[in-house]
């Protein structure tokens, strides 16, 4: 398969997954806000600030808005095209990627992505976001679900599916760590159990938590569940397991070994997640632990890009080889939005 096509499938999946996760995050927290008493502006900022901080786009937000009111935060995360990670931007980027490989996608798959883009940019979409936010966000999530469902039944089970899975699970793992990281930014006075439930819901894991863990929702249990659970499809460990599996399917290297740097990174991370217990996380410091996972997820993404798209090793090995340089613009375009 062409490297560009693999790269495009990977990013298409990432952007759809990113939009899905953001829609969950905003929807859940908007509802959580309804459960709290009326907040003055300082407390309202205290409510939203951890969420902005966890997305990693805090400095852009400060530059564009500066004030964490509900309207500002929601607009920034939902339909501000100046935020490259807003739902609007994700929908556009997913569509751009789909468009360039449209000949290789099933029509329904393209139609879902295109419909989401058109919906978000339509006057009806705009007004729904304001008058009936839950319906707006559920439409985003429905599209993402339909997209991955259709992808599973139409994309050939070869490298194409592998790159789709890698994009989807790396993105999901990254978002899970960010949602959990909200705990590290909460102000002192708030009721943490409410936020714990909200984080579980943001990860679509509240029901699973209740049925599998039964006990009271406490911080250690939630972190253990969302990071280390081998069963939960949104836990970081589960996502890395799927990523590692897809990488080995592509290369044919047996799992537990590695043939390139991407496999080495994913294997090491999976090993840690498999043998860590929740105490290791808190001993390390929750924020530091999550942060290091994010760094390692990025490393996996970078190594995949190097191994399968940029191929610097092949292109520069041996001093006698004369490579006409690929333009800087093309490289930039292929790397896209790294987070």
């Amino acid at each position: 398969m062409l490297s560009r096509v693999a790269n495009t499938i990977y990013w298409m999946a990432r952007y759809v997954e990113r939009a899905d996760n953001l829609a969950r995050l905003i929807d859940v927290n908007q509802q959580l806000l309804l459960d709290t008493e009326r907040l003055d502006s300082a407390r309202l900022a205290g409510f939203w600030r951890p969420i902005i901080l966890s997305t990693g786009d805090d400095s852009l937000f400060q530059e564009l808005y500066g004030n964490e009111g509900s309207d500002e935060v929601i607009r920034f995360l939902t339909d501000d095209p100046r935020n490259p990670n807003s739902i609007t931007s994700c929908a556009s980027m997913a569509r751009e990627n789909a468009r360039t490989i449209r000949d290789q996608l099933a029509d329904e798959l393209w139609e879902e992505i295109n419909a989401l883009y058109l919906f978000i940019h339509s006057p009806a979409g705009h007004s729904l976001r304001i008058t009936d936010p839950p319906r707006f966000y559920s439409e985003v999530r429905r599209t993402a679900a339909a997209f991955f469902g259709l992808a599973a039944t139409s994309i050939p089970r070869n490298e194409a599916t592998c790159f789709l899975e890698i994009g989807r699970y790396l993105e999901r793992a990254d978002k899970a760590t960010r949602f959990i990281d909200v705990l590290n930014f909460l102000p002192e006075h708030v009721e943490r159990s409410l936020h714990l439930a909200a984080i579980l819901r943001s990860c679509g894991a509240l029901g699973a938590f209740r049925s599998l863990r039964r006990g009271r929702i406490n911080e250690r249990e939630v972190v253990d569940f969302l990071v280390l659970s081998p069963e939960l499809p949104r836990s970081v460990r589960f996502c890395i397991d799927r990523t590692d599996s897809a990488l080995h399917k592509i290369s044919g290297t047996p799992r537990g070994t590695f043939g390139d740097k991407a496999e080495r990174e994913s294997g090491k991370l999976l090993f840690d997640l498999s043998f860590h217990v929740v105490d290791d996380i808190f001993d390390h410091g929750l924020h530091e632990y999550l942060d290091s996972i994010q760094v390692r997820l990025n490393a996996i993404g970078d190594e995949i890009f190097d191994s399968y798209v940029l191929m610097p090793d092949i292109l520069t090995s041996g001093t006698s080889r004369n490579v006409a340089s690929i333009s800087a613009a093309a490289i930039w375009e292929m790397q896209q939005q790294q987070q």
Binding site: M1, L2, R102, N322, V323
Partner: protein, 478 residues
């Protein structure tokens, strides 16, 4: 009541009816089965064929529209019929023409005998926008330059076919030819049974066989790719379609990399050597190192690989010198010079603005003539004298005087008409014909072509960018 009730041929040659209103013998079966349909049934079948285009994504992109709107190419379901004997004549004429054009290109890029013998004035070649003197002396596989040619033919009031222009760079439209046929087979299966229509399905096979034929490495299965400018190009559908039909990769410039003067594509399994590139981007954008440094479409180093003979390009670089509208004037001379034959298909009478006598004639008769810029295509850069305003004529007069090498003029040819469904009635609309000629181990012409139709009443401009549509073209087996 027949769908053709009240149809008038007017002053024009009609593709289906003779001047006295009687149906041409080869179209009798078509008239009987198509004309016998109830209007409602005809409309339903027409709507079905349009849905077929939409559902299959047979669309073109509209430029400058960031909503990414894609439209279907307007399609008229009444086919245009070409009898067997007439097709034989066209085939012979087109074959003769592509042979002569290729001999001319080989000559121009080698010894330039035709210039030394003063059959064509040197001035015209050396001042042609698409002439690439740096390629002189370069040998290309099989000495073939134009591998795919789309020559535009028209039929005049006298019923004769004329060549209007040759497209020897990146002619487009073959996918519509194939899909028009698919749509019509679904709409009118019974009529096909009655008519003995020759199949066009061999086109992708012939195209692939040609690409493989020109491969520089003969020992193993050659790797061929189609190079596209990308999904924003208006012909992107066609690029995807042809690549898929041939089972070859569709690549963009950034998918290819040149190492040690060989071309490779980047795949998830590493670099894979490429032997033949069916390129659908213009010469100027092929290699930013050699041509336009600002081009992100091309492949740095491609020209070096090409010069070394490590990769073949279809069409070759520099073919534009043969298809500009001034060189067109000299094609009949090329045929006589290289082949020693009389041209089978005539040119439309043409005046060269750079010749003093012709220029005087052109400037004196602007309101009656069609004036064309030498290197434009798609109906741009053109003056239709009879319908132009005084101001437009004045603008062209200045342009011609300022740059005579760049202009030719032709009398207005009243193109033949073909019955076309127009808002509730069958009416005559002007048509042309673009057959696709493939030149590999031998010359292959798919029986048929793209019949383009000017949907606007009275219009002679058939280009899709100017409101034209298309029809299926039926070449009969006999």
């Amino acid at each position: 009541m027949s769908l053709f009730e009240g149809y008038e041929t007017g002053e024009f040659h009609d593709e289906m009816f003779a001047a006295d209103g009687s149906v041409r013998p080869n179209c009798a079966a078509l008239l009987q089965s198509l004309g016998g349909l109830e209007e409602s049934e005809f409309l339903e079948r027409k709507a079905n064929s349009e849905r077929y285009f939409l559902h299959n994504g047979i669309t073109f992109n509209v430029y400058h529209d960031n909503q990414g709107t894609e439209r279907i190419f307007p399609f008229d379901p009444v086919p245009r019929v070409i009898p067997a004997a007439e097709w034989e004549h066209l085939e012979a004429g087109l074959t003769q023409r592509i042979m002569a054009l290729n001999l001319f290109l080989h000559d121009i890029y080698h010894d330039q005998q035709i210039l030394q013998d003063e059959v064509i004035p040197r001035f015209f070649v050396e001042n042609a926008k698409h002439y690439r003197p740096e390629l002189r002396g370069l040998d290309v596989p099989g000495d073939i330059y134009i591998h795919i040619c789309g020559s535009d033919l028209i039929r005049g009031a006298d019923g004769e076919f004329y060549v209007l222009e040759d497209n020897g760079r990146c002619p487009s439209g073959a996918s519509y030819l194939l899909e028009n046929r698919n749509a019509l087979k679904r709409a009118f299966p019974a009529i096909f049974d009655a008519m003995q229509v020759r199949s066009v399905q061999s086109y992708p096979r012939d195209l692939l066989a040609m690409l493989q034929y020109i491969s520089p490495s003969r020992d193993e299965e050659p790797v061929c790719v189609l190079l596209t400018p990308g999904c924003f190009n208006s012909a992107y559908f066609e690029h995807c379609y042809l690549a898929r039909q041939m089972g070859i990769e569709i690549v963009e410039g950034k998918d290819l990399v040149v190492v040690d003067d060989y071309v490779y594509m980047r795949t998830t399994r590493g670099l894979k050597r490429v032997d033949v590139i069916y390129r659908r981007i213009d010469d100027d954008f092929l290699d930013p190192v050699v041509f336009r440094p600002d081009s992100a479409l091309g492949v740095p180093g491609l020209m070096n690989a090409y010069r070394k003979g490590n990769v073949a390009l279809a069409n070759a670089v520099g073919t534009g010198v043969a298809d500009d509208k001034v060189m067109y004037y000299f094609v009949p001379r090329m045929i006589e010079y290289y082949l020693g034959q009389k041209p089978i298909l005539p040119n439309v009478p043409t005046y060269l603005a750079s010749e003093e006598e012709d220029r005087k004639f052109i400037l004196d008769h602007l309101p009656e003539l069609v004036v064309k810029a030498a290197n434009e295509s798609g109906g741009y850069g053109m003056l239709m004298g009879p319908s132009a305003s005084k101001d437009e004529i004045a603008v062209f007069r200045e342009k011609i005087i300022a740059d005579p090498r760049n202009y030719v003029a032709q009398p207005v040819i009243s193109l033949s008409r073909s019955p076309t469904w127009c808002d509730g009635a069958m009416e005559g609309r002007h048509v042309d014909l673009r057959p696709y000629i493939i030149y590999g181990s031998d010359v292959k012409i798919v029986p048929g072509g793209l019949t383009r139709v000017a949907l606007t009443k009275g219009s002679l401009v058939v280009n899709s960018s100017q409101g034209g549509g298309s029809k299926d073209t039926w070449v009969l087996a006999d």
